[in-house]
């Protein structure tokens, strides 16, 4: 029995299905939850790929931090209604209010093209992964702090700026409540 394939299929299925639900869930909150499931699914895949550090970071950061930020956003923004109009029939879910069927067609088209590209390129790709490093965190740390030291610093500056930006934007609002 090829357990890894089974695990891969299950995890992949969960991730893709929850991603799909994020797109089509009528309720914003449902969509947010499904987003959390997607993040978790991706984290599981990382585990499957023995990238344990990344899996941890993914779960911690995405599933945790980003989700909370999303939830905050949902609560703080005064949405008229969190309920989207019930789509009519199974096709309704695919239609977007403004662009109609175009998004679905665009996404399918993109996927079809990528499918073709990968399948044509598939034979050249390796089938079995490399021997996993004993401890991927040490390895990533090496890459991060030696080879990519500068990008790392830039990323930190980016995060700092994002934090300050978010605070200032929302504070100004907070100060003068209209």
């Amino acid at each position: 029995m090829n357990w890894p394939m089974v695990a891969f299929v299950v995890l992949g299925g969960i991730t893709v299905y929850s991603g799909w639900r994020v797109a089509t869930a009528p309720l914003v909150t449902h969509a947010a939850l499904f987003l959390a499931v997607t993040f978790a699914g991706v984290g599981g895949l990382f585990f499957l790929l023995q990238a344990d550090f990344l899996a941890a970071v993914q779960l911690l950061l995405y599933a945790g931090a980003v989700m909370t930020v999303v939830i905050f956003a949902i609560m703080l923004s005064e949405m008229k209604d969190i309920e989207e109009p019930r789509p009519r029939g199974w096709l309704g879910a695919l239609r977007s209010p403004s662009l109609g069927a175009l998004p679905f067609i665009g996404a399918v088209l993109l996927f079809a093209v990528m499918l073709v590209v990968y399948l044509r390129g598939a034979p050249a790709l390796p089938v079995t992964p490399l021997p996993a490093p004993t401890n991927s965190t040490v390895f990533i740390a090496g890459a991060l702090f030696k080879i990519y030291a500068l990008p790392f610093e830039v990323a930190s500056v980016l995060l700092l700026a994002a934090m300050i930006g978010a605070i200032i934007l929302t504070r100004v609002e907070g100060g003068r409540r209209r």
Binding site: W3, P4, F8, T15, V16, G19, V22, A23, V28, A31, L35, T38, F39, L45, F46, L48, L49, Q50, A51, V57, L61, Y62, V66, V69, V70, A73, S77, E78, M79, E84, L94, P97, S98, L99, L102, F104, G106, A107, L110, M114, L125, P126, P129, L130, P133, F139, I140, A143, I147, Y148, P151, A155, S156, L158, L159, A162, A166, L169, T170, E173
Partner: protein, 107 residues
């Protein structure tokens, strides 16, 4: 740990592509700003899958893929934070975050 011997790299790439298209569909279909941001988050994750898969399967890269995935994570986090802050402001000022109404920047 379940070693992922049996799974060829192509499947991961296909999964990444599928998840990316689903994220794109989400971003395009939704009329609510927050939902769009969620869609974008999904697309970023799809990219991460590919990166990690490459780092694990392709010999030459070493673990650059994973390091790069970390950066993608950082960027995604920053983007989510700032994006949602702006959405909140827009909702406060405009009272709505429906994409159709927020189209002042048109031609």
């Amino acid at each position: 740990m379940i070693a992922v011997q049996g799974v060829p790299l192509v499947d991961f790439l296909l999964l990444g592509a599928l998840l990316f298209c689903v994220g794109l569909f989400a971003a395009l279909r939704r009329s609510n700003a927050i939902m769009i941001l969620m869609g974008i988050e999904v697309m970023l994750n799809a990219v991460n899958i590919n990166l990690v898969a490459f780092s694990r399967y392709l010999p030459r890269g070493g673990d650059r893929g994973q390091a790069f995935a970390v950066f993608v994570l950082a960027v995604a986090a920053a983007e989510a934070a700032v994006g949602l802050a702006m959405v909140i402001i827009v909702s406060r000022r405009r009272g709505t975050i429906e994409i159709e109404e927020i189209s002042d920047m048109r031609g």
